[in-house]
Each structure stands twice: as C-alpha cells, then as structure tokens.
Symmetry: C2
Subunit: 345 residues, 2 copies
C-alpha cells in the first residue's frame, strides 16, 4: 500500500511514544526509518520498527537513554550508549565530534552498548551537508564468510563516506557483503531462487535456495578485496569501541539480547575553500556525463538514485507491504487498547 510520508512518520513516532520513548527520541528514530523508506532502502525502513519495540519491551533497548560520553583525549570521544536507541546515541556523539572537529581539525567517536543505528548515509549526509567530511563504520552480527571460508564470521560491516559538494553533498553508503540478508529473506518470502554466488548453506556449499542461505553465510562483495575491507572494519571498530567481534556479536537482529556491536564516526574539518568545493562538484558532474556503456542509460554518482527516490516519494508517498503497515497500526492500537484497559481498572 501507498502511505503519505508524513502519515508514516506520525504513526512511527506514535508507536515509539506509546512504548515509552521520549518525544525527541521518537522523532529521531522515526526520521531515520522514514528517510530509509524515502530513499528506497526498505530493509532499513519501517519494517525494523516492530523489532525495536520488542527490544524496548524486553529491556534490551532503553528509549530514554542519552548515552554517557567522555572525551578520553581531546580528539577521541568514547560513548557508552547505555542500551539507548541507536540513532539517538549516535547523533549525540556525532554532533559532539562535529563541533570538536571545527576546533581541532578532526575527531573520532567510538560507541558501544548502543542499538542498531540503521542507514549510515543518514549520518554521513548530516556532516557533509554542514561542510565537513564524515567516515562512518558499524559492525553487525556475523553473516559474511571469509573469502575462501565456509562459515559466517564477519558482520555485513558497512561504511559511509560524506564529502561536501554542490548542490548536494556526496554520500556513499554500502555494506561489505555482496547482498543484504534482507534480500535473501525477501527471496525466501517469495520462494524465489537466488544466484549461486550470493551465499553458502550451513555446510559451506554454494546454494540457490534462500532458506538454506538464511542458515548459512553471505559472500563478501568483490571477492578477496571486499573480504579484506569487511574484516578491517570489524577490527577497526572493535579496537576503538571495545565492541564484540565476529560470532560473538549479538543484538542487531534478535529482540532479546543486549546489543554489543560498535559504531565509529570520524569527522574532519578540511576548511574547504569555495574553489575546492566547486571543483569537487564539477568533477562529479563530469563523472555523471561519462558516456554510458551498452546496457546503461547513464552513469550515476552514489546518492543520485536515493535522492531522486526521496523527491518522488515525498509527494507520491512510500510503498509499504500491507503486513508492515498493519503491524504498525496494531502496535499503536494494541497499546491504545492496553492503556484503555489500564484506565478502566
């Protein structure tokens, strides 16, 4: 079904508020999920909300927590997320290091004990739009096999990079897995086969059966190089945030375990001169104007497609599976009902 963006935003905020989330925190979390929907990343969108609510109910996410941050060095912020909502904790740390970077040129935030932070582009864009450079990393449960290995031992470990440009900042955001686990679930739901190079089954054999892949491991993107990157991010984040590694990571997919992955943000204030920003933008336009090869209608720059999607969906509305919308309505309604019952007693 098609839902106007503002209606979806309001429902998401309401669901969160009904489950004990302070208004500003509910707005931040809802905005992150809605922005993912607008940009066409349904896997990071509203379908995540029921899981967040379950985690709040189960006490492994504390919607009121604001995180405890400490400057262990003038340029190094350590953040204990206190089991708070991912974007609430991350945004606070990010804004702190953004301000510090303006003073000293660069700063890093290492976050642990926080929940899933969703689409990294949301953070990178915020910084790049403010004229700074952002590098964002996050780890996840082990879903990816090492290059040449049979078992899932590495997170889907995304990276996002934001660089100021005009009229829009440059933002790239990608997982180091070949595909998202959400895509494999999607194929399973529709009983569609997956290409044999996407994943291994739990015995470490290539499979075209999405159900078998769900119990197995996803391939890294780009063979040995993507594996090297994903592994490097796993180590980098854990070394800085003190977060768990590989198969010890939990709480990013389930609804009962304390989340022990880590997030790392680096913000650099380059004092970009007008001239430089213009050059970056001219170069990006030159790349867009590169003649396409056969089979491509145009060359795009990372972020172009999600920006176009956002513009379109802001007016046309977002497309949601009926079940997702139904579940959100139920989460709002059931809670209403409970409250009514509570009032009646």
């Amino acid at each position: 079904m098609i839902v106007p963006a503002e209606e979806a935003r309001n429902l998401a905020t309401q669901v969160l508020r009904l489950h004990g989330t302070p208004e500003t925190h509910a707005e931040i979390q809802a905005d992150l999920l809605l922005e993912a929907e607008l940009r066409g990343y349904a896997s990071h969108g509203l379908l995540r909300l029921p899981r967040i609510v379950e985690r709040i109910r189960n006490g492994v996410a504390d919607p009121s927590a604001v995180g405890l941050s400490q400057w262990v060095h003038p340029g190094f912020l350590r953040v204990d997320g206190q089991r708070g909502l991912g974007p609430v904790i991350a945004l606070r740390g990010l804004d702190e290091i953004s301000e510090r970077a303006r003073q000293i040129g660069i700063a890093v935030a290492a976050v642990d004990n926080s929940n899933h932070i969703g689409m990294l582009a949301w953070y990178a864009e915020r910084i790049a739009a403010a004229g700074q450079i952002a590098l964002c990393f996050s780890t996840s449960e082990a879903l990816v096999h090492p290059w040449g290995g049979r078992r899932a031992m590495i997170g889907t470990n995304p990276i996002a990079i934001g660089v100021p440009a005009r009229p829009h900042p440059f933002v790239m955001d990608m997982a180091t897995s070949l595909v998202a686990m959400g895509k494999i679930y999607d194929h399973a739901n529709r009983a569609q086969a997956i290409p044999s190079h996407w994943a291994l089954d739990r015995h470490g054999k290539p499979t075209t059966d999405p159900e078998a892949a769900k119990a197995g491991a996803i391939a890294p993107f780009g063979d040995a190089k993507g594996y090297a990157l994903g592994l490097a991010f796993e180590l980098l984040v854990s070394a800085l945030a003190g977060s768990a590694l590989g198969q010890s990571v939990q709480g990013t997919l389930d609804s009962t375990k304390v989340c022990n992955k880590g997030d790392v943000f680096i913000v650099i204030s380059p004092d970009i001169e007008t001239e430089t920003a213009d050059e970056l933008s001219r170069y990006l336009n030159a790349v867009r104007n590169c003649p396409p090869i056969d089979g491509f209608s145009a060359v795009t720059v990372p972020g172009d497609r999600s920006r176009a999607s956002r513009v379109e969906r802001l007016t046309a509305g977002i497309s949601l599976p009926d079940e997702v919308w139904g579940e959100l309505l139920e989460l709002a309604g059931a809670q209403h009902q409970k409250r009514d019952q509570g009032t009646l007693q």
Copy 2:
C-alpha cells in the same frame, strides 16, 4: 634472476645517491621499493626506480626536499611535499601525526605536491606495529571507469588499514581497481589475452586485448560498490589535500610532469588494552581456522601471504626480471662513468 635482498637494497640506494639523493632519503626510498619486492608486489618494487631517477633528472622530483608541514589545526597537518620523494615526505608527515595522535587521540595529514608513495601497506604497518590505527589513502592518474561508464575518470585509489594485533599487526592494502595496470602491461609484454571483464578499450568496449586495454580503462573492483569507494577516496583526498581530480591528475606514471595527486593519512591512538589486542588476535586466528571451501586449501588474513613471502625472500633472495636488474646496474654504472669522465677532465 635471483638477487640477495641486501645486494638489491645497496644497489637501489647507490643509484639514488648517485642521482643526488641524500643518504637518509635514498635509504627510505630504497627500503619502500625493496619491501614491495620482498612481499611479492613487483609492480611497486624496483621496476619503479628508473622512473624515479628520470623524474629526478627532469626536475619534477627533488630528492633533497623534506616537505613543508604546517598544523593548520591541532589535529590537521597540511604538508606541501615540495616535489620531494613520496616516501620521504609521507613518512615525515606520518610520524608527526603519530606523535600528535598520542597526545590528542587522532590526527590527519593531507599531503600534496609530493611524488608516488608506493605500497600503502608500508605506512599502515609502521603505525599498527607501534600500537596505533592507520587509515591511508592516495590518488593516482585516472585509469578506472565509473560503473557503467566508458572512460577512465577515477584513479586506482588504494586504501590501507592497519590495526595492532599479535604477533603481527593486521594490515590490508588494496587498490579500488579490479586489477593493477601493471598486470595489464604484464599480459601485453607476454602477448597474453586478458579476461573480458577486466577492462574496456578506448571506445569503451570490453576487450581481451591488453594493448587495447592500455589505451582504455580498467574496471572498478566489486562493480558498483568498488566504484563508489574509489570515487569517495578521490573526493576525500582532493577535499583534504587540495590535489587534482580525475583526468587532471598527472605525474604518477610519466616522468616529465609535476605530480599533483594527493595522499591522506589518519592515525588514531585507541589506548588498546592488552585484553583487547588479545581478542583481536584470537579473532584473526579463528578466521584463519575457518574451514575452507572446495578449491581453497586455507583461509588467509590480509597480510599473511606477503609476510610469508617476505620471510622466504629474505633468505632466498628476490626474483627480478633481467632487464630490471640490468637497468639498475646501468643507472649505477653510467653515472659512475660520467663521474670518472668528470674527474679525468
């Protein structure tokens, strides 16, 4: 031919000294090239030396330059390389930010007007071995086509990441191109066809002819994701270092143009506790022990193979094409001769 490592190091140092390079600078440059040979990266090894000498002769590389560095912020070091030798300039900046990172947690160096810095692993390993985390970036002449595009518009833009571990630091170093241009030259020299997905010819058509590929463009690794990374690094480096972009970059392959690419180093001092370093190392060993899939004898961690190669070649010697060794002997001899003639006059 097989040459003992020390003999190769001495000859390289001698060649550089005979062409006006101060002893400490000659040792740094020779060490970088020799380490590439020892680790099995011939494309970044001694075959680069004749080009470096030509650049010195042509005045586009100044072997005496030490670079002019300036802390524009407490955590941001800007380095004007003064046309110096790449590793001489880079090492100086790297050591400055390493020390600063110990004080304030993180620091960045942005280098321009410097020559080719070679294998990035050399820098990342130095920092990781000292207990810090390194992120290294460098740009190059445009050799890679955008995903879906016909023309070379992006450098091979490598990244290296170093993280402390035991007994060896973790070091990964990779270009964002699918293959090195050196590999295509190698196929051309041996008149061997290349796989059709490696490169496009100058008309933007896939080619199996390495000669046609030399005039065309290499594919990014990992399709759209590798393209996004390479492009992000191109922008990141240029935004920070003020270096040239895309097809404007020159001086990394030729011997006559001032080099206008950029290099960026980020060093983070995480105060890694013994416990954390042990956990990183245990995790890396668990990855190495992951059962291999059919066709693989073992899972390796980035750096394992080059470390094994180094150990072997330190005793067995390095393998060099006759022409490369001959050219180095000539560069040493011809200069000797010139000097003798000079003395006789």
